[in-house]
Amino acid sequence: MAIKIKILKHPELTWFENLYIPQILSGLLITIKHLLRFQPITIQYPEEVKELPERYRGIHVMPADDEGEIRCVACKLCEVACPTQAISIVAEPADDYGIERRPKVYNIDFMRCVFCGFCVEACPCDALRMGMKYELASYNRAGLVHTKEVFFDPNVKSDAPRDNANYLYEMGKGENLDSADEIEKVKELTGAYIESESQPQDTENPFKSAGS
């Protein structure tokens, strides 16, 4: 394929253009035109706030679940996905309506965070989203490490299904997980598991292989 080339020539200036004054005047004409149709693209920032698009990646927000609790289950996937190791999580056991883990500590260090949004992409529970706030100034470093209390916003609801968080969630909201009923329910649900348990096992030599 032949490459299409466009050869540009330096323009020859007419004697009129070679006089400095007309060039300066024609330049001024353009700037004066701009002055007359005054359409600033800047905004008066603290008074006026820019309208942000839906996808804007600002300070993180943690939405609430149906019970008004934090959705995060401390799976630490966001911590792994973060390219700058900005997130630190300490998990604790929980016993709420089928959720087994909760974050005890969930901090994002905004001295490290680059607002790439990979943590949000990685979260399997819709427990983290990029918000619309971007004013991050602080008088000291400690003020830039935000905790889960800062991110958590009970007004942001998530309608993402939660089947994987715990399949008992739908069936036994608020029930004691350890009750015999629940264990029965689990066994009912996981029929395959019970079946495999009842299969006869080769107890004599578990390491026996076909070749030997």
């Binding site: 394929m1 490459i3 996937l77 996905a81 399997p124 994987n164």
Partner: protein, 409 residues
């Protein structure tokens, strides 16, 4: 402590009548506003003439290439934003294309993603050239051209913000396509921009192209011959300004550039003014490409269906155990390209940007090497300014359009 010699022997000349003259050493930068970052140039001056110019780099070194050896391929993406931060979307797309080549999945990328990437790439090019021309003009005293350029750049940033969620640090496409489909109003905002932009471009042109003062400051300044340009490895407008019609989009097309109708602008003089003309014409050509791409933007999938590489849909992650496990594995380990090495070049606004990736079969690159256009183009600076006036050094740096984030990496 060793005494630091500021004057070397060869700089000292003993005249016939016994008087002694020496060249003056002048540090330009690293805080000089016209060095476009933190570039330091040590100038040896004989009066107003530059005898020798030695650029010193490294003030912005962050070790990006080394850092990338310790994170997954996906996590390298935000680092590429921070190389040529004037056109970060172009760096992103270049990196993603290199990863796709390493994985051998170029043919499986959906058409919609490719066309969208072309549009974003060309928007990035326009943005970068606007900054290049604007700051070059500002350094030489033309304030209004700079302001009009930045006004248009703002509009491009608004488009990028609606698509990517960030203005400067876009981190947008993913290996396999786009992470989210283009927003609904994408076509509308881009067409709106295409309507407004040519007017401003025309204004900038009428402020500069036939302006006697601008021509005096740039014509015949910072000349580099075609032979020198090729020998030094210049690319982009710096090479085409010297009359060599080399463009990666034509030489080794990627993203389907062979299907677009555009021309490669060249000028033969090799001075700062030629490079300016090339940049302006390239913006016109980019507009042409965006028009064609928008007309042919197909509907359909925006990310490839590759279970080992691409994260499953969110809806499936929330509801299906298999997808959840796949999601965890991809996030934890990253995708694993087969062992091997590739090199992929794209035509960045400033020149040829190429990524050289070595994979050892794990989820992290064994080595990532970046050939940045600014780094190579800056080599020409010493050659350009020797024998010129001090004031021309500013014009030379501006016309090379270097960005220090990429030189130092």
């Amino acid at each position: 402590m060793e005494r630091v010699e500021f004057v070397s022997e060869e700089q000292v000349v003993i005249n016939e009548d016994g008087t002694r003259t020496e060249t003056m050493m002048l540090n330009m930068g690293p805080q000089h506003p016209a060095t476009h970052g933190v570039l330091r140039i040590v100038l040896h001056l004989d009066g107003e003439m530059v005898v020798k110019a030695v650029p010193h780099i490294g003030y912005l070194h962050r070790g990006i290439e080394k850092l990338c050896e310790h994170i997954t391929y996906q996590q390298c993406l935000p680092y590429t934003d921070r190389m040529d931060y004037i056109a970060s979307i172009c760096n992103n797309i270049g990196y993603i294309l290199a990863c796709e080549k390493l994985l051998g999945i170029e043919d499986e990328i959906p058409e919609r993603a490719k066309v969208a990437e072309v549009i974003l790439f060309e928007l990035g090019r326009i943005e970068s050239h606007l900054v290049g021309i604007g700051t070059n003009a500002l350094d030489l005293g033309a304030m209004s051209a700079f302001l009009y350029c930045f006004k248009e750049r703002e509009r491009i940033y608004d488009i990028l913000e609606t698509v990517c969620g960030a203005r400067l640090t876009t981190s947008y496409p993913r290996v396999g396509g786009l992470p989210l489909d283009l927003p609904e109003n994408f076509e509308e905002v881009v067409r709106n921009f295409l309507k407004i932009f040519p007017k401003t471009l025309h204004e900038v042109e009428s402020l500069l192209t036939r302006n006697k003062i601008w021509i005096e400051r740039t014509k015949g300044v910072a000349v580099i011959s075609a032979e020198d340009a090729v020998n030094l490895g210049l690319t982009g407008p710096a090479l085409r300004g010297s009359g060599v019609p080399y463009d990666v989009r034509k030489a080794t097309p990627y993203l389907g550039y062979e299907n677009y109708d555009f021309e490669v602008p060249v000028t033969s003089e090799g001075d700062a003014y030629s490079r300016y003309l090339c940049r302006v014409e390239e913006m016109h050509q980019s507009l042409k490409i965006i028009h064609q791409a928008l007309d042919n933007l197909p509907d359909g999938p925006f990310i490839a269906d590759l279970p080992d590489i691409v994260l499953p849909e969110k809806e499936l992650t929330y509801t299906k155990m298999e997808s959840l496990i796949r999601h965890f594995v991809i996030v934890y380990e990253g995708f694993k390209p087969p062992a091997g090495e590739i090199q992929h070049a794209v035509e960045n606004p400033k020149g040829e940007l190429s990524y050289y990736l070595i994979s050892d079969g794990s989820g992290k690159p064994y080595r990532m090497r970046v050939r940045g256009p600014s780094f190579v183009n800056m080599q020409a600076l010493s050659k350009m300014v020797e024998g010129a006036l001090v004031a021309d050094v500013i014009a030379a740096i501006g016309s090379l359009d270097i960005v220090l984030g990429e030189i130092d990496r």
